[in-house]
């Protein structure tokens, strides 16, 4: 089992938006999904998940609705808004640029030391 790591600062919002882009989803499922997709590497703290969800909702990037979940109980589902979709696109692009840049730097320095 790989070691678990916390999310890098500022990336949680992006991950939430990405997960919500697949369809309406509630908080518990979001945490599960992130954990599963990252093969248990990324662990989401509830302490940061819910404030983040509420913040995104207040900013109008997510909209909320109450409906029955897979267990039959009512849960609060979050759905990506138009504004959220745009934001996600922007953040994904900038993340891609950033990680590409970091990768390049790491490769270059590896090459130099080896």
């Amino acid at each position: 089992m790989p070691a678990k790591s916390d999310l890098p600062q500022g990336t949680l919002d992006m991950l939430i938006l990405q997960v919500a882009a697949l369809g309406p989803i509630h908080g518990y499922a979001i945490a599960q999904r992130i954990q599963q997709i990252s093969r248990d590497v990324l662990q989401v703290q509830q302490g940061s998940l819910y404030p983040a969800l509420h913040r995104l909702e207040n900013k109008g990037l997510l909209s909320a609705l109450w409906k029955a979940s897979e267990t039959g109980r009512e849960a609060k589902f979050y759905r990506l808004t138009r504004k959220g979709r745009l934001q996600l696109k922007e953040e994904t692009a900038s993340w891609a640029r950033l990680s590409e840049a970091i990768r390049l730097i790491l490769q270059a320095t590896q090459g130099a030391t080896s």
């Binding site: 509630h26 908080g27 518990y28 945490a31 703290q45 509830q46 302490g47 819910y50 404030p51 509420h54 913040r55 207040n58 109450w66 979940s69 267990t71 109980r73 009512e74 849960a75 609060k76």
Partner: protein, 862 residues
């Protein structure tokens, strides 16, 4: 989390948050249970993994957008911190506002209670007073004959019901000592007109209201409380009134005070059939209830028709009589309307002056905080937000002021209730919801007055300049402050002029030459009832006078129906005729019935002819004395002595002329008066007047004892010295003058403080400049003169504006001034001098401080 937090934050949002998080927690528990651990263990693990439900909730709340309420809370907390840093400032502001608001609330309470609220009867706006008017008479109103009340009830189309009542004194011998009860004798349907049911028991039945019916009495609330200690068992007990046992059938509620608050009891008049036929015996004051939607004018037209028909039917007695219908409320409170609005106007001006002062303080405080404000701007605060912050501070201060004002007002109302003896409905004064609403509204409005301008002023753009050198804005702020101080001076002038006019009038009233000597005259009444036989009353009155004269130290004793210059008995002049003159002229005179020693007792000089004699023989020749005014007006160039005149009651021969005395009112010049000589058997409770020799120890007590010897079953009441009675008749002008004087003093003090504050700041700001100029050789007198000039120009503008406004407003005072013109030159000359004196005093300290500035330290401070 406490309940109020829940309320504050919005229940729904909280519930949803809770449900959302619990869902997550439960799913975690399920997860663990499925992994095979026990229920408890699963719950523990889930909670652990979740990491503190409350903490997560709190973090979720933190990301919520701030609501207006939360922002206001933040502003309020910030404001309180600011006050805590400078408590003296907050205290001064709150106290100033409390004085201004409190005075307003107290006067408003009087206006609201007396003028605005309807009388305390059901549908009171439909209650009217109806008077018979004689078209031939100068002063028109009169009382109404009992038969007319019945006829009007039958024939009108605009009234639901009409009834009458008249005042009577009843000797009450229920207890060990005789007492005098103020009774109202009521016509049938009296209580139906007013519409209030009895609080206890019932009002009169129609049997009790008809002649020969059972003897009943209804008590007023105050009488019930003082005499029966508010015992509910009072119903069906009896009172012995005028030697007749009457059954108590009901007690009225405290609000029922018709016709006056002093009424003790109501008894049915049970007018005998003989009196019902006497169409000319008018004694009821009539009150009626209009039908829904009928105006007093329509009712007047309606009843005038009835009056005309009756005039045709009974030409000898009823011809020429009209009718006047006016709202009951107007009759009850009309007399004080002008004074109350005047006081309200005055007290509003005081509040404006107080707001001016507070605005100066607020501006100074805001300016001291310019740096802080500038920093907030540079941190991205909007101007709107900063202004709101300053307004919230103002609002908090005015809430403090309102609460303080309310306390002051409740105290003031108590004082008013006691001080305003003659103000109608004064007993109804109390603190109520309307007053609290008014006070709080006033508080919010004053915030707009005193906090908005400084807030706008202090947050003006120009940030860079302000941060760089704070003095850039000093100029505009000074002109704003000068404007405020000038305004305060102007307000003080207006109020001082108003107070000056009233005070001068009042002193004129006191110094007026009355034409009689009230000193060492005592007065009282002995209870008697209109039901006594006239002959018996005459004998009793004669006996009483004899006994009084026999008291050692009593110089003379006399009787009159009313006291001289008694404001309660300001009856209109009556018409009389002069035998042998058929010129068609109308003659009017104040008619008085007085016993022989009236003139001796009051020291009214007999100028010509003889004085009255007490002659109790039934066939005595009726005689009259007239005053100088009557002689001059109606007998120019001849002597009235020897003429016969016929007055409202009796004919009489004029036997003498006496000096003019202000019989009607201190405020009225002497008018023609005819004094009918003799006892007053038709007025059983006549006023006794006795002149005592000073130092002989004659007191009301010794008089009571003397009366008890001869009249053990009668009460002595309304005892007072004549000067006291006269002073009482001036109580409303006195109260007006005192209150307006108080308000003017407040305005003056506010103006002085405002001026002082402005000059002190002026000197403080110019410290460096003054220091520099003094270092360069300026004389202290020059510096002194500069401060003086600054003060004088500010005050001067205020004085000019104030005098102009006061001259304009003075005409509204015409009805309230006496003996002077409303533009009284003396008042208008003295008031500016007072202001100049006070302004001079307020200028001295800052000016001296300016002179004492040490150039060296002033320059080193930079």
């Amino acid at each position: 989390m406490t309940w109020w937090q829940r309320v504050r934050r919005g229940d729904r949002a909280e519930q949803q948050l809770d449900r959302e998080l619990r869902y997550h927690l439960d799913r975690l528990k399920d997860e663990h249970e499925q992994a095979g651990v026990s229920k408890e263990e699963a719950a523990r693990k889930a909670t652990l993994a979740f990491g503190g439900l409350e903490q997560v909730k709190e973090e979720c709340r933190d990301v919520r957008p701030l609501h207006l309420l939360d922002e206001a809370r933040q502003d309020a907390r910030y404001a309180l911190r600011t006050f805590a840093r400078n408590p003296a400032f907050a205290l001064v502001v709150v106290v100033t506002l409390a004085l201004g608001i409190g005075a307003n609330s107290a006067i408003f309470s009087a206006i609201d209670t007396v003028l605005l609220k309807p009388l305390p009867y059901p549908s009171a706006d439909r209650l009217v007073v109806v008077a018979e008017t004689n078209l031939n008479q100068k002063t028109a109103t009169s009382w109404v004959a009992p038969v007319k009340v019945e006829e009007w009830n039958r024939e009108n189309r605009t009234f639901e019901v009409l009834a009458g009542g008249y005042f009577d004194n009843m000797t009450d011998t229920t207890g060990a000592l005789p007492e005098r009860d103020v009774a109202i004798r009521t016509s049938p349907r009296f209580f139906r007109v007013l519409g209030s049911p009895a609080a206890l028991g019932r009002t009169f039945t129609s049997e009790e209201e008809t002649f020969g019916g059972p003897a009943a009495v209804v008590l007023s609330d105050s009488f019930w409380r003082t005499r029966f200690n508010a015992a509910p068992s009072v119903i069906n007990r009896t009172l012995t009134l005028a030697d007749q046992k009457r059954t108590i059938v009901g007690v009225m509620p405290p609000s029922f005070r018709y016709p006056t608050a002093t009424t003790d009891i109501w008894v049915p008049a049970q007018t005998p059939p003989g009196l019902m036929r006497a169409r000319e015996v008018r004694f009821y004051s009539v009150v009626g209830r209009l039908k829904e939607g009928v105006t007093p004018n329509q009712a007047t037209d309606d009843l005038l028709g009835t009056q005309r028909r009756l005039g045709d039917q009974f030409p000898r007695t009823d011809r020429g009589w009209g009718v006047a219908v006016s709202p009951l409320k107007e009759q009850q409170v009309g007399g004080v309307r002008r004074s109350l609005w005047l006081l309200f106007g005055a007290v509003l001006l005081v509040l404006v002056a107080a707001c001016g002062n507070v605005a100066c303080l607020m501006l100074a405080a805001a300016m001291r905080r310019q740096h802080e404000i500038a920093v907030r701007f540079s941190l991205g605060a909007e101007r709107r937000r900063v202004i709101r912050q300053l307004l919230v501070e103002g609002l908090l201060l005015s809430i403090g002021g309102s609460v303080g004002g309310l306390l002051l007002a409740s105290w003031g109302i108590k004082l008013l209730r006691e001080a305003s003896l003659r103000m109608p409905r004064a007993t109804e004064l109390h603190v109520d919801v309307r007053l609290v609403t008014f006070t709080l509204t006033l508080g919010v409005l004053t915030t707009m007055l005193f906090a908005l301008a400084p807030a706008v002023q202090a947050t003006r753009a120009d940030l860079a300049a302000r941060l760089a050198h704070g003095r850039a804005v000093v100029g505009s702020r000074q002109s704003f402050q000068r404007l405020l101080v000038s305004m305060q001076v102007a307000l003080a002038i207006v109020l001082l002029v108003g107070a000056g006019l009233l005070l001068r009038s009042f002193s004129q009233l006191q110094q007026v030459s009355t034409g009689f000597d009230a000193n060492n005259v005592l007065t009282f009444r002995v209870s008697g009832s209109f039901n006594e036989r006239a002959a018996a009353v005459a004998i009793r009155q004669f006996r009483t006078l004899e006994r009084l004269r026999a008291i050692p130290g009593v110089e003379s004793a006399a009787l009159g129906i009313v006291l001289p210059a008694d404001a309660d008995a300001d009856y209109p002049a009556a018409e009389f005729t002069i035998d042998g003159r058929d010129t068609g002229d109308h003659y009017f005179a104040v008619a008085r019935n007085v016993s022989a020693d009236y003139f001796k007792t009051l020291r009214i000089p007999v100028l010509h002819g003889e004085t009255c004699r007490d002659d109790v023989r039934p066939d005595a020749r009726p005689t009259v004395l007239v005053n100088q005014s009557l002689a001059n007006q109606y007998f120019p160039g001849e002597t009235p002595i020897g003429h016969y005149i016929v007055g409202p009651r009796l004919p009489g021969e004029i036997i003498g002329i006496v000096g003019d005395a202000r019989e009607q009112s201190l405020a009225k010049d002497a008018q023609p008066v005819a004094y009918w000589c003799g006892l007053v058997p038709f007025y059983p409770a006549a006023a006794q007047l006795i002149r005592v020799q000073p130092g002989r120890g004659v007191t009301i007590t010794s008089i009571r004892e003397a009366i008890r010897e001869i009249e053990p079953a009668r009460a002595v009441y309304a005892a007072a010295s004549l000067p006291e009675v006269l002073a009482r008749s001036l109580s409303q002008p006195r109260l007006n003058a005192i209150l307006l004087g108080l308000f003017a003093a407040m305005a003056l003090a506010l103006a002085a403080v405002g001026l002082f504050g402005m000059l002190a700041q002026f000197v403080a700001q110019k410290r460096r400049e003054i220091g520099l100029r003094m270092a360069l050789g300026a004389q202290p007198t020059q510096v002194f003169a500069e401060v003086l000039r600054y003060s004088a120009s500010t005050t001067g503008i205020g004085i000019a504006v104030g005098l102009a406004v006061a001259l304009g407003l003075a005409r509204f005072m015409t009805a309230l001034v006496f003996g002077i013109e409303s533009r009284d030159p003396m008042t208008f000359a003295i008031v500016p001098l007072v202001i100049v004196g006070v302004a001079g005093a307020a200028t001295m300290i800052p000016a001296r401080r300016a002179v004492r500035i040490d150039p060296v330290t002033a320059l080193r401070d930079e």
